[in-house]
């Protein structure tokens, strides 16, 4: 059976009004950027409801709309309503919403580092009557025995998994009617993800309704009764979790398995080139006691488009930060041509011709596109502020040259019409292309793209795929791509390296990787033979 239409207002299967009801909610940031568009969601009493979607789809925004924390990030609900048992929540402040029984475990755990475990739990129970606290604490300690053992320890010193347990325990101290979980598996090791999954199942069994926002679709679909898929701020699919897990649409979205690549046709063999190659060899990165990357190796050949993929917390961004010199490695080497990068400072690496784009755009919003791009050419500009200020002939000639090159790059990226407009006036997809153009303006020989299509819709993402393919062939550069969008990756990359929990689990052509049972397990958690049919 296909999932129900996204338009109908959802009801529970028996027709009763659900416990938590989100109705046609629109959310805007800074009064302009629309992050949610007519989103409806129903949480029956005691049910686990999963919300899936790629980065930037609006999952966290949806949770913020429910928990009333949008104002903290400059957002607001512009239409629609959120109701708990018929009581409007959408005009209330977060503390009142929490006291009404809807308690959120925020993304990134957000335990109070300076407080002990026990004090964190008390902080969760401040809104509840004293007499019920002992019972709540016993229940939390039973769910998470490790918290009892560590009750006197400062929360900031605990591991990521323990902090996640503490964050969940803290929320449960309030004995919520609806528990909102934002990416609880993010960055955790497999056994810890499994443990968190067990606890969510136990919370469910004890009768608390749960809204579970996850990029780990495998985990979420296994735990949930109902699931919603968000795409660019809209619910595109919803229905019983088991049925969604079996649909081609979901498989396609999270693995790019079922459909043919929707991006541009592969651009043929990469142009042969003799530029430097990037060799990552046995790199490990540790943060405190947590190993973020473990013995990761891969090579980006000259002129190749190489994709680095993996679930959230797999180590993709960490890898990029190692390549650009932001993080130090614990062991291993990164060589670009003959140069060892691991010892260099970020600006030295940039000077070697390694450019990058940022997932969260690093543009100056009030400056024009042209000025942002000129800033990207700073490394190639020789005129100092004295010569530029005096407008010496040399400085003027250079200025004209720089502007000509900026125009060329803008044309290549179909931005030439927007050069004189401020970045803030552009659409999100256009801004993403400006970010790419800014990186290209530094004339890199290797370009690192950090989630270039995150938050884009299918059309924008296909357009960007075409642009990246053209950039690669015309500018003759190598590209390392970190991305969640499988359709985008599979249509564009020559080779793909898959990371999971800081380890490389596969490298190969897109077709090879898609058939790899390890990869399918990491993404969907389904047995290989079933998924690869």
């Amino acid at each position: 059976m296909p999932p129900a239409s996204a338009r109908s207002v959802p009801l529970t299967s028996d027709g009763h009004a659900p416990l938590l009801q989100v109705r046609d909610v629109d959310v805007r940031y800074a009064g302009a950027v629309r992050a949610l568009h007519g989103v409806s969601l129903a949480v029956p009493d005691g049910a686990v409801v999963a919300v899936l979607g790629s980065n930037g789809a609006g999952k966290s925004t949806l949770l913020r709309a429910i928990s009333g924390t949008l104002p903290f990030v400059g957002g607001s609900i512009t239409s629609g309503s959120v109701e708990l048992d018929g009581r409007r929540l959408d005009r209330l402040d977060p503390a009142t919403i929490a006291r009404a029984g809807v308690v959120q475990v925020p993304e990134g755990r957000q335990v109070f580092d300076e407080l002990t475990v026990e004090e964190n739990l008390r902080a969760g129970a401040l809104a509840t009557p004293r007499r019920s606290r002992g019972r709540a604490r016993d229940r939390v300690y039973d769910l998470f025995p490790v918290l009892r053992e560590r009750s006197g320890q400062r929360a900031g010193l605990m591991s990521g998994g323990e902090q996640q347990m503490l964050a969940m325990g803290r929320a449960l101290m309030a004995e919520p009617r609806v528990l909102l979980l934002d990416e609880p598996s993010l960055g955790l090791a497999p056994h810890m993800v499994a443990r968190i999954g067990e606890v969510i199942a136990e919370i469910h069994r004890q009768g608390t309704a749960v809204v579970l926002v996850e990029q780990n679709a495998a985990m979420a679909l296994e735990l949930a009764d109902l699931a919603y898929v968000l795409e660019v701020g809209q619910v595109t699919l919803h229905g019983p979790a088991a049925k969604l897990a079996a649909t081609d649409d979901v498989r396609d979205r999270y693995l790019g398995i079922s459909a043919a690549p929707a991006g541009p046709p592969p651009t043929g063999p990469p142009p042969t080139r003799t530029g430097p190659s990037l060799a990552v060899d046995g790199v490990s990165v540790r943060f405190g006691g947590v190993t973020a990357l473990s013995e990761v190796s891969f090579t980006v050949e000259p002129g190749e488009v190489h994709a680095l993929i993996g679930p959230n917390g797999a180590g993709k961004s960490t890898s990029l930060n190692v390549l650009t010199g932001v993080y130090r490695v614990a062991s291993g080497s990164v060589r670009y041509g003959d140069t060892e990068l691991t010892k260099l400072r970020p600006h030295r690496i940039a000077r070697l011709g390694v450019g990058r784009t940022f997932q969260n755009l690093a543009l100056s919003p009030s400056a024009t596109v042209a000025d942002n791009l000129l800033l990207g050419r700073h490394r190639l500009t020789r005129a100092g502020f004295v010569t530029a200020g005096l407008r010496t002939p040399g400085a003027r000639r250079e200025q004209a040259e720089q502007r000509r090159r900026v125009r060329e790059i803008a044309e290549l990226l179909e931005l030439d019409g927007a050069l004189d407009r401020p970045v803030a006036a552009l659409s999100y997809g256009d801004r993403k292309r400006v970010e790419l153009a800014r990186a290209l303006c530094a004339e890199p020989t290797l370009l690192l793209l950090d989630e270039p299509v995150a938050g884009m819709n299918a059309e924008e993402s296909a357009r960007l795929a075409a642009v990246v393919a053209r950039v690669r062939s015309e500018l003759d550069i190598s590209i390392l791509l970190v991305e969640h969008d499988m359709t985008f990756v599979m249509g564009l990359a020559d080779r793909v390296t898959v990371l999971d929990f800081g380890r490389r689990i596969a490298t190969g052509t897109p077709a090879e990787v898609q058939r790899d049972p390890e990869v399918i397990r990491a993404y969907l958690g389904t047995p290989a033979q079933e998924a690869a049919r």
């Binding site: 402040d93 977060p94 308690v103 109070f112 407080l115 902080a123 809104a127």
Partner: protein, 297 residues
């Protein structure tokens, strides 16, 4: 040597007063991220209320009234400011407090005029002599009161629900709100406490050996609170205590050894705490006990 110990004891007792002042400054910053430049005027208000009512109410009554009035005004200030505090830029709010400071200080100075009010405290100009070290009685009283208040305050912060709410909302306000902690109430109580501390400190700050209550008391108090709070780390109550003591001792020593430090010019005692503050910040940019800002790439 005797001079050294006399200066040390006097410095520590002055430091107790400075610590009380800095503590109020830090509590507001901790709970609301507002750098409260109106704090000096709040202290002046407390002093003014005590100075103008002690003849009719007696010292104890006037002191209680001063504490109450200052706490109430501080809450009003905080609530009016805080209506937008969570959304506004902290820099804007700091400038707003500067404006309030000027208004309040101008009005109070006008009322005080050329009089020199006193708090009418029972200790007067008496001096205690202990093993050859001379300390004014007001300073002994200040030290006792400061130790009691600070110990009580630290215990409250450590053990009570309110303390946990304060520490939780200081560290991660958005998350604290998600736990049902009402940030506006935590903030209002922090302002009230700050006002009460300011008025209490005013009792001792304007007593002997200080000349009395004049319009400049507020600035002088702020000049002590800022280096104490900043070198302690601005959001740390422990830091405020250590900072306050350090400022008191530094200022007293710089003034006491004025003759030996003559090459630095007159009035070095006023500047010395800032020198110490700069040296501490050079070594530890977040202050002695401050939480570090971590930027994410």
């Amino acid at each position: 040597m005797n001079q050294f110990f006399t200066l040390l004891v006097n410095g520590l007792s002055l430091g107790c007063i400075d610590a009380l002042i800095a503590l109020g400054f830090v509590i507001v910053f901790k709970a609301t991220r507002v750098v409260n430049f109106a704090y000096g005027s709040l202290l002046l208000l407390g002093a003014y209320v005590v100075g103008s009512t002690h003849e009719s109410l007696g010292f104890a009554g006037a002191a209680l009234l001063g504490v109450a009035v200052t706490a109430v005004l501080a809450v009003l200030l905080g609530v009016v400011l805080l209506r937008r505090a969570r959304l506004a830029d902290p820099g804007t709010l700091a400038i707003l407090t500067l404006g309030i400071d000027i208004l309040l200080a101008t009005e109070l100075t006008r009322r005080i005029g050329t009089d020199l009010l006193t708090t009418g405290d029972p200790w007067g100009a008496d001096v205690v002599s202990l093993a050859g070290i001379q300390v004014p009685q007001t300073r002994v009283a200040a030290a006792v009161v400061a130790v009691v208040l600070v110990t009580g305050f630290l215990a409250v912060v450590k053990f009570t629900d309110w303390g946990i709410a304060l520490r939780a909302s200081a560290e991660k306000p958005a998350t604290a709100a998600l736990m049902g902690i009402r940030l506006s109430r935590v903030a209002a109580s922090a302002w009230a406490l700050a006002g009460a501390l300011a008025a209490t400190a005013a009792l001792f700050f304007t007593a002997f050996p200080s000349p009395g209550i004049s319009g400049t008391v507020g600035q002088a108090a702020l000049a002590a609170a800022v280096p104490a709070a900043v070198l302690g780390g601005l959001d740390s109550t422990t830091g405020a205590l250590v900072g306050g003591l350090a400022v008191g001792v530094t200022a007293t020593f710089a003034a006491g050894y004025q003759d030996q430090l003559a090459f630095l010019g007159r009035g070095f005692g006023t500047v010395a705490p800032y020198v110490v503050m700069l040296l501490v910040l050079l070594a530890r940019p977040s202050g002695l006990f401050g939480s570090k800002e971590i930027a994410r790439v």
